[in-house]
Symmetry: C2
Subunit: 224 residues, 2 copies
């Protein structure tokens, strides 16, 4: 178990969405080799996992998909339960799409996987700026879990969050700079799980607003 | 989601072993109501989960069993892989039974479950004294994950570790004080997964030593 620490490699937590695809391009520039991990947590729409697979394939990366069947068993939220409506958050109340503890589980499982391969770097697309009321997207949480992971596994994990303090528009501009805009055509964002995207749900609206502010056209097909 | 915090209730991470059974009795004394959660992570021996079920039933508690099928998919260790031999740790090397990140996943999932029920208290039988080289049994780790869980879910989690600084003998004495010794007959400890227990594997030896030092007879049947 005396592992070689491969500092020039990284594991990317990959959802197939706009943010994690931007992180993936960022990581491919920063690290010599990257690995992709996705989570099947019973999300409403398999479109997300499908997008992750499609994009990983285009980039000639293998995507490790981890089954997490317990989420729908112990939590109630609009992402894993079709009977619950998608609602944006209000003051003091997270949106109905919030899955409690999701990022904490994802990061922990990704870290376990990464350590087996001797990889200390984890990259995630969480963002405090537009965090929509999700507490586990904030920098304070990331710093805290990084420390906890190191203690739990005695391994020098480093969590990279290239989007943490960017607005959605900044993140679109970053992707342009990385030469990754065409890839965004294959990403999945829409909470309704449709393709072309609905353009009306909170996730689509946030995405469209970002492109608009950046003055760049979203390559994703929309219904309207 | 504005939850009522039920400070007089607790969720116990329950393996069906000696330590977590002692914690269960401890928690039943301390809290008005307790809930039990166990994890099916592909452990070699279902004897553990069976013991958890038997004891929960005797105490008239329902046991929530959470499937975590990914462990055997991403890690190599003697607990989830029968081809790997059980070996004790040596200096600087954890034992072959160490499952990287296990307690971190267990505590996170238990916290998600507890929050849904409005329960802030989590009880776990981790112990620094006899920690056998498992970094995620130490107090520094528990303090760190407690903080991380609070940040991740904005909920006032409190992790209770009644055995943290006890020796195995202390823990036997505690169980005697709690009137729980007869329950230990139904627990499972043996790494070989047999009943009567083998009495020879590292887990059996540690258990027997504790009873011997406490001057109390282990009610568990042994092969020799």
């Amino acid at each position: 178990m005396a592992l070689n620490v491969k500092n020039n490699q990284a594991v990317i937590l990959y959802s197939g969405g706009q943010d994690s695809t931007t992180c993936l391009k960022w990581a491919m520039k920063k690290f010599k080799q990257v690995r992709v991990i996705s989570f099947d947590y019973g999300q409403r729409h398999k479109a997300e996992l499908k997008a992750a697979e499609t994009i990983a394939k285009r980039l000639r990366l293998r995507n490790k998909v981890i089954p997490l069947p317990f989420f729908s068993q112990i939590t109630k939220n609009a992402l894993t339960d079709k009977k619950i409506k998608v609602k944006t958050g209000t003051k003091g109340k997270p949106p109905s799409t919030f899955v409690d503890g999701r990022n904490m589980v994802f990061l922990t499982v990704a870290a376990i996987y990464a350590k087996q391969l001797g990889i200390p770097n984890l990259v995630t697309g969480v963002c405090q700026t537009d965090y929509s009321g999700y507490p586990d997207c904030r920098d304070a949480f990331i710093k805290s879990i990084e420390k906890t992971l190191r203690l739990a596994m005695e391994f020098p994990f480093k969590i990279h969050t290239p989007l943490m303090f960017l607005t959605k528009a900044d993140s679109v501009r970053l992707m342009k700079k990385l030469g990754g805009l065409p890839l965004l055509k294959y990403t999945h964002t829409c909470y309704e799980g449709v393709r072309p995207a609905c353009g009306k749900c909170p996730a689509c609206k946030l995405r469209l607003k970002g492109f608009e502010e950046a003055g760049i056209k979203d390559p994703l097909p929309y219904a309207q």
